[in-house]
């Protein structure tokens, strides 16, 4: 019996050959689908590839029409490439590493409209982009003045809570509670029947003395003393209640007094919030520019956050979780990164012109590779600008990552930037941004717009916006500087411009009179809305004060009875000294 059957080698080669042919025929489609599916899962947004072809001999892959959808807007692509050609280091594939020696990326476009809506890979419905459809490349756009109309006091009070109203109702409730507390106390501790009963008791005792003999005097005296003590007890209780009530009344009075200042406080707060400060041209400019700028920056941060983890595996390796059938890959000491793009030629389409760029040393683990990734785009004079330079360095080689971006655009023609308001002029834009530890921002950008011609359409019924627009139409030079600080999650923009002065003057002229009217009508509106609560609190307080009278009346009634009882007792004590006979006769000894 033979141990080996050599014809098995032929069978194995035949089967292997068949599998090889199958792969050769269908490899491109399989890779394309895998990149679309796995790439979409990893990037959490749809990735489409128009076509993909591989060349095993040349160890190259060519892709065409690659689209990466914007995860926040399914009608927009975050980035798209007309073509991508990659020359791979095939030997490194054995080590499960992707090493790209050379990349050619042409027709890179940012924020382009999609022909069909993207689907979220996790099945979540992403935001439909009808209202957020691509705004193209409008980096230099001046915002409109739509937001400069002022709210009426009635509108403001509909959306704002008034402290006066809340405090008034609170005070009214406190006083009502006090009133009900005293009402209960009067009913239990100050029973009106008790006064009548005491009066009756005193009257009966007096009758008893008048009709009684000598022998009854000591008993009557005793009863007088007891009654006197009862009345004294009642008087003491009333005195203590009076002092307690006095305290409650003082507290209520203080609260009502405090209410008087609140309408003014509400007024100041709302005035500061809604009124346009005639000196606030700077704030208006900031509010005009900040919104659109932040919208673009937020988009940039999102893309940055999406890419960063893949470029810093050295510091934050992907966390692996055991999944049945997959296990986990244990990472051992590496001598080279798992992904490296050594060199790439890029071609970015910006403002409908081509800007050439270069990419060097893009790796997933710069700590091992030892070099930062660098991307730069440069262009000489063309019909859109005199020169363009964008340098991006992503340095994650050290313990603290430091990414920098430097921009320098000279002589940008503003006529074709896509904003209707800009009818002419040119701009020089320079600046740089540093992101430390992938979170801490520090940057400053300056734009000098020269020979500007602004034409802002009139807004019906918005006097302020129209006045500012008119002021802006007379200027021909604008300087804007934007400082960025803080963290990606919470950053501040410090916007300065010569427009501040221009807008401030326009605002001063228009708003001075308007503000007076606004403030007085705001005060009236506050007063009319809070009047009821304030008068309600005052009314409740007078009700509480009225209860003081009940205590005083009751106190004086008991005081009278006490005096009467004391008088009777003392006269009875005196008469105890001489013997008196029935019928008023007196003995001579």
């Amino acid at each position: 019996m033979k141990i080996f059957r050599w014809q098995g080698v032929i069978a194995f080669i035949l089967i292997g050959g068949l599998i090889g042919i199958f792969l050769l025929l269908f490899l491109d489609g399989m890779i394309e689908r895998a990149v679309e599916e796995k790439g979409s899962e990893a990037a959490k947004t749809q990735i489409d590839i128009g076509s993909l072809s591989t060349s095993l001999l040349a160890q190259a892959i060519t892709l065409a029409n690659i689209e990466v959808a914007n995860p926040d807007n399914n009608l927009e692509n975050l980035i798209q490439f007309e073509s991508l050609a990659l020359d791979l280091d095939g030997i490194q594939v054995v080590s499960r590493k992707i090493i790209i020696d050379e990349l050619q990326a042409h027709g890179i476009r940012l924020n382009q409209a999609r022909t069909h809506p993207a689907q979220s890979p996790d099945g979540k419905k992403s935001e439909t982009g009808n209202d957020k459809a691509s705004s193209g490349q409008k980096a230099l756009a001046l915002p409109g003045l739509d937001g400069l109309s002022m709210k009426s006091p009635e509108e403001i009070l509909k959306s704002e809570k008034l402290e006066t109203l809340e405090a008034g109702n609170r005070v009214k409730k406190t006083i009502e509670d006090l009133k009900s507390k005293w009402k209960n106390k009067f009913e239990t501790d100050l029973n009106p029947n008790a006064l009548e009963e005491t009066k009756q008791e005193l009257a009966e005792l007096q009758k008893k003395i008048q009709g009684g003999g000598l022998a009854d005097i000591p008993n009557a005296l005793k009863e007088f003393k007891t009654l006197q003590n009862d009345i004294q007890g009642q008087v003491d209780r009333i005195t203590s209640m009076k002092s307690e009530l006095e305290k409650d009344v003082q507290m209520a009075k203080q609260q009502v007094a405090d209410l008087k200042n609140l309408p003014q406080k509400d007024f100041e707060r709302l005035k500061n919030k809604y009124s346009m400060n005639p000196e606030g041209g700077k704030n208006i400019l900031a509010s005009m520019l900040e919104g659109p700028l932040k919208e673009k920056l937020d988009k940039a941060w999102k893309a940055y956050k999406m890419i960063s983890p893949y470029l810093n595996r050295g510091k934050s390796p992907a966390e692996q979780v055991y999944v049945r059938g997959r296990g986990i890959d244990i990472a051992f000491a590496k001598t080279s990164p798992d992904f490296l793009l050594k060199h790439g030629d890029l071609s970015l389409v910006l403002l409908d012109t081509e800007v050439k760029g270069e990419l060097k040393g893009l790796s997933d683990n710069q700590q091992i590779y030892g070099k930062p990734a660098r991307i730069n785009f440069q262009s000489d004079k063309n019909e859109k600008f005199d020169s363009f330079a964008l340098d991006v360095t992503m340095d994650k080689t050290g313990p603290q990552s430091k990414d920098t971006l430097a921009l320098n655009i000279q002589g940008l023609n503003l006529q074709n930037t896509g904003k209707a308001e800009l009818k002419g002029g040119s701009a020089n834009i320079t600046g740089q941004l540093t992101i430390v530890d992938e979170n801490n921002l520090n940057g400053n950008f300056k734009a000098v717009l020269d020979r500007v011609s602004l034409s802002i359409p009139k807004q019906e019924g918005n006097e302020l916006a129209n006045t500012i627009a008119q002021s802006l139409s007379t200027i021909d030079r604008i300087n804007i500087s934007v400082g960025i600080s803080g963290t990606i999650e919470s950053y501040q923009l410090d916007i300065k411009s010569n427009l501040s002065e221009i807008i401030s003057n326009a605002v001063k002229n228009v708003l001075a009179e308007k503000m007076k009217g606004f403030e007085s009508s705001l005060m009236s509106a506050i007063q009319s809305q809070t009047g009821e609560a304030l008068s309600g609190a005052n009314g409740s307080l007078s009700g509480l004060l009225g209860q003081n009278k009940i205590l005083s009346d009751s106190g004086s009634a008991y005081g009278g009875l006490l005096g009467e009882a004391k008088g009777e007792a003392s006269s009875l004590g005196k008469s105890k000294g001489g013997l008196s006979l029935p019928g008023g006769f007196k003995l001579p000894f």
């Binding site: 194995f12 997959r326 296990g327 890959d329 244990i330 051992f332």
Partner: protein
Amino acid sequence: MIRQALKVFKALNSNEKPWQLSLGLAFGGIIGLMPLWTPHNIFFLFLAFIINLNFSLLILGFLIFSGIAYILDPLFHQIGLAVLTSGGMQEFWNGFFSNSLFLFDRLNNTLVMGSLIFSLVSAVPLFFLINFLIRKYRENLKDLLEKVPLLKSLKLAKAFDTFTGSGS
């Protein structure tokens, strides 16, 4: 399936040596317990092609042990994790995986490493156990089972198939 069972039954009663049958089952076990598309699995398949073992039992072993592999998946992961993360072996593994071939083989994966160790270790006793059982079967049960009417009729049907040419 019935044909496969018949093939196994036929192999058990054939003149093939017990080691051919048990090696077929052991190889089926090794290939079935490990993730299919790994380079070393293809190597084992290559060995199975050139060693004169029984292929029906290899396929049977592969099917049975693939199911067992699914159940034992967490155990394989634990074995692989323990071996790959063992404190004293880190220097060895660093040197081992500096060779691209082992990374290509995905031996740094807990499941691949765990299942490879488990299948290789368990293949040896499995081989000897099956070998022993086949011997015992042939000594004690073979003649007895051949007298069972159902098996007899199956045998006749097989003979008929062979005669008419409709069998394999």
